[in-house]
């Protein structure tokens, strides 16, 4: 038993998940994990599926590509290796929000600062035309900040970089959002 990681991208329509899942079921692959989203009408999903010993990743890839490509869906299939990841550093979950005019390079700028401070992005959302900020681009980064990263230094670096693009930035521990909105 080994695993594959499968990404599927294409124009959204009803039935994509059904088709992908049916192909994998025929191949006796078990979907262990899946994350799917739709961005501006485009479907994107990541599947982690276990493959029975008799099958190879190539066979899975071929089956998927043959049947999904005619529907305009691109897929990438790779062997999933349970990497011997370095033991995770103690980290806290924070939410970083930037608000301001849209322009090329905003994410590159913020993500660059985060990278410098060893901050990992777990989730990233762009919110256009929100009710609260209708004329601005809002980016929501859910991140983990290592314990040995200085929060004030990170905040200052983000604010200084954001100011160059006319962005306002806030950095708040994730717990405050959960406490307010979730039972």
């Amino acid at each position: 038993m080994h695993k594959s990681i499968i990404s599927v991208v294409g124009q959204d329509r009803p039935g994509i998940v059904a088709d992908v899942a049916a192909i994998l079921a025929e191949l006796e692959c078990n979907i262990e994990d899946v994350s799917q989203t739709i961005l501006q009408g485009q479907f994107a999903a990541l599947f982690i599926a276990s493959i029975p010993g008799a099958q190879s990743v190539n066979e899975v890839r071929t089956s998927l590509e043959d049947r999904l490509a005619p529907q305009g869906l691109n897929c990438v299939v790779r062997e999933f290796e349970e990497s011997a990841a370095p033991s995770p550093r103690e980290a806290a979950s924070f939410v970083i929000i930037t608000i301001g005019p849209d322009a090329p390079g905003l994410i590159a700028a913020m993500a660059g600062v985060l990278k410098t401070h060893a901050v990992n992005i777990c989730n990233l959302q762009a919110v256009n035309r929100s009710q609260a900020y209708p004329d601005q681009m809002v980016m929501i980064y859910e991140v983990t900040v290592p314990e040995d990263t200085s929060l004030p230094a990170l905040r200052t670096a983000l604010q200084q970089r954001a100011a160059r693009d006319g962005l306002e930035v806030s950095v708040q521990h994730k717990a405050i959002f959960e406490e307010i909105h979730r039972l």
Partner: protein
């Protein structure tokens, strides 16, 4: 993963609706500081407050920064000075107040509460001496807050103490005449004073409390107002029951913020967490006003007919939301209607929409009472005592906390402006009808007995 609305609505509450933690208050017991020597007593008091409080302000700021929620005030509440310093003479009580002021200054807190006497059933020498020291103590300190409990539902009203407080108010105003009687803004007279209030001027640490404890006072009138505005904009036909539900849900959110911040500060200090006080506490800023909530709910001004019913609804909804959000609710936990501290209320009073009698009626359904009310400087002590007695009676009969924070502004008359500054704000002096009609009643003194607790009508 958080949703867009969870993130953005929280951000809006903080950035546009004045969501903050109004006060984190560190309670410090001073009973183990007692001594028959005032120098040793004040040294013990200073040492204990400094030891427990030296990292308190920095920690509050750090936690506030972590969550993106400002802790506006950091305060300390101590055991009642009248008990801790029971053997002191009046001039020594002034020394105790100055010691508290020095300790507050050195640890960096905004206010320190607990220059307090509990006299609902009678006065001991320590209480008498503290009251005698009160005017000078408040005039010669910056951060000390005082409170006196003169009535309770179990004991009734101590009318001798109430009469004495009328005099103390006059003396305190005179001692701070150059600042519009500012000393009286730091002095609150109570019925049923809770032992865990984090808000000033009533904050003190009760005898049943731990050696050190963190109590939190939330804020949020701006958040409540905006929530009502949004709900009404979406559906102008909403009923009051539905609007009360909106308030309840909002109070829940505000309370959660207070609790998470308070618990983290308590943990950081290595002391227990006490309570969240749910009170909607306004500031003298537009958009951070309890009075504006009245207008959002359809009244032209706070004080017009309908105000008492509206306030009852608001207070109840806040309590319900808060009680669901936290199992550690205490203090006063209601809506504050401090006249000078709320721009909108101050303006309504100035324009004549809100009179003293209506204000008093409203205190029957809210916390805390006649709060930050500027009165004519010429008002007699017995009339002040009459106003206090009326307010205390409301608390005693209704089994609730009520308070009077009255400021007879020296040299000024009804309609003149009194300026207290900062969070204490400013207000025009409210007229008092029949300023000379209470003396005969107050003169009798003694105690109005505790009420019957059956036959409730």
């Amino acid at each position: 993963m958080l949703t867009e609305s969870e993130v953005l609505s929280t951000l809006q509450m903080v950035q546009n609706e004045h969501l903050d933690v109004r006060t984190v208050t560190l309670g410090v017991s001073l009973y183990d500081c007692q001594s028959d020597d005032v120098q040793r007593l004040t040294q013990n008091i200073y040492n204990k407050i400094y030891r427990l409080g030296r990292s308190f302000v920095a920690l509050c700021d750090q936690v506030g920064e972590k969550y993106g929620i400002e802790v506006v005030n950091k305060r300390i509440a101590v055991s009642p000075a009248a008990l801790v310093a029971a053997a002191c003479r009046p001039e020594e009580f002034v020394e105790v107040a100055r010691c508290l002021d020095r300790a507050a200054h050195d640890v960096g807190v905004d206010f320190i509460g607990g220059f307090t006497a509990l006299v609902e059933k009678g006065m001991a020498p320590g209480d008498t001496h503290l009251l005698e020291a009160m005017p000078e103590a408040l005039a010669s300190t910056e951060r000390v807050c005082a409170s006196v409990n003169v009535a309770s539902s179990r004991s009734g009203l101590n009318m001798d103490a109430i009469a004495r407080m009328g005099e103390v108010l006059k003396e305190t105003a005179a001692a701070t005449a150059d600042r519009d009687g500012l000393g009286c803004a730091k002095l609150c007279v109570f019925a049923n004073l809770p032992e865990d209030v984090p808000f000033m001027a009533g904050a003190y640490l009760g005898a049943g409390e731990p050696d050190a404890v963190i109590n939190v006072g939330v804020s949020g009138p701006g958040v409540v107002k905006k929530a009502i505005d949004r709900a009404v904009a979406a559906n102008p036909e909403l009923s009051l029951g539905e609007l009360s539900e909106t308030i309840k849900r909002t109070a829940y959110k505000v309370t959660r913020v207070g609790e998470i911040v308070g618990r983290e500060v308590a943990k950081g200090l290595g002391v227990g967490f006490g309570i969240v006080d749910l009170s909607l506490a306004p500031t003298p800023n537009v958009g951070d006003s309890v009075g504006e909530i009245f207008q959002s709910l359809g009244l032209s001004h706070i004080g017009v007919p309908g105000s008492t019913a509206l306030l009852a609804m608001l207070n109840d909804a806040v309590k319900k939301g808060g009680a669901f959000a936290s199992s550690s609710v205490g203090g006063l936990s209601g809506a504050f209607i401090p006249v000078s501290e709320d721009l909108n209320i101050a303006e309504a009073a100035h324009q004549g929409h809100l009179g003293l009698e209506k204000l008093e009626a409203m205190t029957a359904v809210c916390s805390v009472g006649l709060d930050m009310v500027a009165l004519p400087g010429a008002i007699p002590a017995v009339t002040l005592a009459g106003i206090i007695a009326d307010e205390m009676a409301i608390g005693v009969i209704n089994h609730k906390t009520t308070a009077a924070r009255l400021i007879p502004v020296p040299g000024k008359q009804a309609g003149d402006k009194a300026v207290f500054g900062g969070l204490l704000g400013e207000a025009h002096i409210m007229p008092v009808r029949d300023m000379d009609g209470s003396a005969g009643f107050i003169r009798h003194g003694g105690r109005i007995p505790a009420p019957l607790h059956s036959l409730k009508n």
